[in-house]
Amino acid sequence: MSGHVHRDDLGSRLGMWLFLVTEMVLFGGLFIGYSYMRYRYPAEFHHGGMELNATLGVINTLVLLTSSLTVVLSIVAVQRGEKQRAMALLGTTLGLGLTFLVIKGFEWSAKFHHGLYPNSPHLATLPPGEQVFFGLYFTMTGLHGVHVIAGLSVLGVMLWWVATDRIRQDRYIHLENSGLYWHLVDVIWIFLLPLFYLAA
């Protein structure tokens, strides 16, 4: 409980960027695994990619990109002291994030319906490369989904803080950092889209 009040927005932002580096390396490990497996099983990855619904993937990309835009606009709104607009934009972001998860849920349930999930009897009959493809598909989109949920939770708190004036015109570093995190979630998806949906 230090007595002095210490505030260092630049330091907070640096800390956030360093945290984002760790997130990128976390997914980096999976990208290494993906590259190696795709090099090993090019035909199977091509075939696996055909099973995925590219249209839904692209729609989801647009949904996430728009949600990133609304986060940025909400930061601008806070900087200008427009509290109502900031809250509306953050609410839109939350809505778009949930939309992403719903679409993702439909996709996953369709895969389960077709028996395409790890350890399923149907998948066991497919060639090994395709089993790895779907193993990676569920791992990487699943981990990304967890990050979407985490990001939405954080943005939900930010919405509450804007409402209760903990985030305001002269103090918005938390919202900025949350926005950075949300962009990372977005960027990772932009890599996942071509690696899986456009692999065919």
């Binding site: 409980m1 002095h4 330091g11 800390g15 976390l26 695994g33 497996m37 199977e44 193993g135 791992t139």
Partner: protein, 541 residues
């Protein structure tokens, strides 16, 4: 410089000044010094648990004791010994204790950049530790894979690997968050005039360590996560039956776990670079060379991981490249050793316990480091891979290196941290059994390895028995030394004489403030006008 500060009304950080008192004041503290001590106490507890397991393993090798421990339990023992010593002791190691306590003081700051995150890191550490302990008693019993959790065995075994792996995952968070905190602190909170090349070398070591923590730890996090997913859902990436590849596991694991040994050793080297100038009473030789060598160890050390896998079946090009890189990483380490020795040359040496342990570090680290280069040679590696030679080697580096440096740092900064002085005679007395026992145990292991004794074996052939007996007796001496060492320090925290503010005549910033330091370290943030080790100028004044 002792006694130059005005007598201050500020109470020391050990006195509760907030609304909470006693244990709660400690468990909710955001003071970097108290968090350092929390780490010290918890890590030392785990260290002694690990030591206890080590002693039991040595006893098993005296065949008369084999009735006590079954072969399956022995597998669990070496796994748990490794997990505790690696993830709960040497990886947090010096940064968690001395980095937390001294980094802000050494750069002239009041605390780290994110004090609450710092406390959260400690809770992650404790949570991981509790999970690791739980994994011993729940599920299918203690994990029996070795601390490396190699696939495919870790995917198939019925023991509680999932929980143990998850514990390591949580501990990784603690490590990463500490790294983020230290990098930000060094970038943002240096006192006015504290330029990069005016920082004490401990700060450079912590800085390069923090970057490895940041860039390597997430890889092991995802790898361990994949093991858990594989065990629960069978995603197949490491499972050859489903098209996966166990070799990929080894690569991903060592991409973290080799740089991790530099997470362990770099801060130790930083502490040695602080101790030697103080007791040689002259500036460190080759300041910039040591600073840059820390950074280049961090860099090159990230590119050598596959030297753990020479016998796993890689292409011969890959083995040769990794062999070369392994030998290159010895260069910056040697630069440090030569600079340390040059610092002592023509110094006016004041022989004190911290210096004794620092010199012990240099001696044991040289043996550990040079045997490491031996293993980097491909032909020799095939012969000694997975033998006691490896076990002896990494104990020389990790225990003789990091462990002894941690003891040296503890002796060096103990009077500052607790405001008490220990009995120097008791510490000298503990050194003899520790040093003799250490070399009997681990040099004995290296000889055994050269003779062909494989590691992780429950039984051994008759021709190895004599050396096993020597090593086991060595382990008793080593433990005797450790107990004497810590008994002397624990006694000193209660009954020790009051320490001066600057008992060793050090010139870095921590010696300009009272022992123990006040809550906010400095009454007035100092302004720095010169490099960290200026002894000659001190004499002229």
């Amino acid at each position: 410089m002792s006694g130059t500060h005005a007598p201050t009304a500020e109470p020391s950080y050990l006195v509760d000044t907030g609304t909470r008192t006693g244990v709660m004041a400690w468990l909710t503290t955001t003071d970097h010094k108290r968090i350092g001590l929390l780490y010290l106490y918890s890590m030392m507890t785990f260290f002694f648990v690990g030591v206890g397991i080590g002693v039991v393993m040595r006893l098993v090798q005296l065949t008369t004791f084999q009735k006590l421990v079954t072969a399956q339990t022995y597998n669990a023992l070496f796994t748990v010994h490794g997990v505790i010593m690696i993830f709960l002791f040497v990886v947090p190691g010096l940064p968690a204790i001395f980095g937390n306590f001294f980094l802000p003081i050494l750069i002239g700051a009041k605390d780290v950049s994110f004090p609450r995150l710092n406390l959260a890191s400690w809770y992650f550490f404790i949570a991981g530790a509790i999970l690791a302990v739980l994994s011993l008693f729940t599920g299918g019993g203690a994990p029996d894979t070795g601390w490396t959790f190699y696939a495919p065995f870790s995917l198939k075994t019925g023991t509680n690997v999932s929980l143990a792996v998850f514990a390591a995952f949580v501990l990784g968070f603690s490590s990463m968050l500490t790294g983020i905190n230290f990098i930000t602190t060094i970038h943002r909170l240096r006192a006015p005039g504290m330029q990069w090349f005016r920082m004490p070398l401990m700060c450079w070591a912590l800085y390069s360590t923090a970057w490895i923590q940041l860039l390597a730890t997430p890889i092991v996090a995802i790898t361990l996560l994949l093991v858990i997913l594989e065990r629960f859902f069978g995603i197949g990436i490491f499972d050859p039956a489903k098209g996966g590849d166990p070799l990929l596991y080894q690569h991903l694991f060592w991409i973290y776990s080799h740089p991790a040994v530099y997470i362990m050793i770099l801060p130790a080297m930083g502490a040695i670079s602080e101790i030697l100038p103080t007791f040689a009473k002259r500036p460190i030789f080759g300041y910039k060379a040591i600073a840059y060598s820390s950074m280049s160890i961090a860099g090159v050390g990230s590119l050598v991981w596959a030297h753990h896998m020479f016998t796993s079946g890689m292409s011969s090009v890959a083995t040769m490249v990794f062999s070369l890189l392994t030998m290159i990483v010895a260069v910056p380490s040697a630069i440090k050793v030569f600079n340390w020795v040059s610092t002592l040359y023509k110094g006016s040496i004041d022989f004190q316990p911290p210096l004794l342990f620092a010199l012990t570090f240099i001696f044991l680290f040289c043996i550990g480091g040079l045997t490491g280069v031996m293993q980097g040679a491909l032909a020799l590696n095939v012969h000694i891979h997975d033998t006691y030679f490896i076990v002896g080697h990494f104990h020389y580096v990790m225990f003789g290196g990091t462990g002894m440096a941690l003891f040296a740092a503890l002796l060096y900064w103990f009077p500052k941290m607790f405001g008490k002085m220990y009995s120097k005679k008791a510490i000298y007395a503990s050194w003899f059994p520790m040093f003799i026992g250490f070399n009997m145990l681990y040099f004995g292991m290296m000889i055994l390895g050269m003779m062909g004794m494989p590691r992780r074996y429950y039984v051994h052939l008759p021709q190895f028995h004599t050396m096993h007996v020597i090593a086991t007796v060595g382990s008793w001496l080593l433990v005797l030394g450790l107990v004497m060492f810590f008994a002397a320090l624990i006694y000193a925290t209660f009954k020790g004489e009051k320490a001066e503010d600057n008992p060793w005549g050090g010139v870095t910033l921590e010696w300009t403030i009272p022992s123990p330091p006040p809550l906010e370290n400095f009454d007035v943030i100092p302004t720095i006008t010169r490099g960290p080790y200026h002894f000659e100028q001190e004499e002229h004044r």
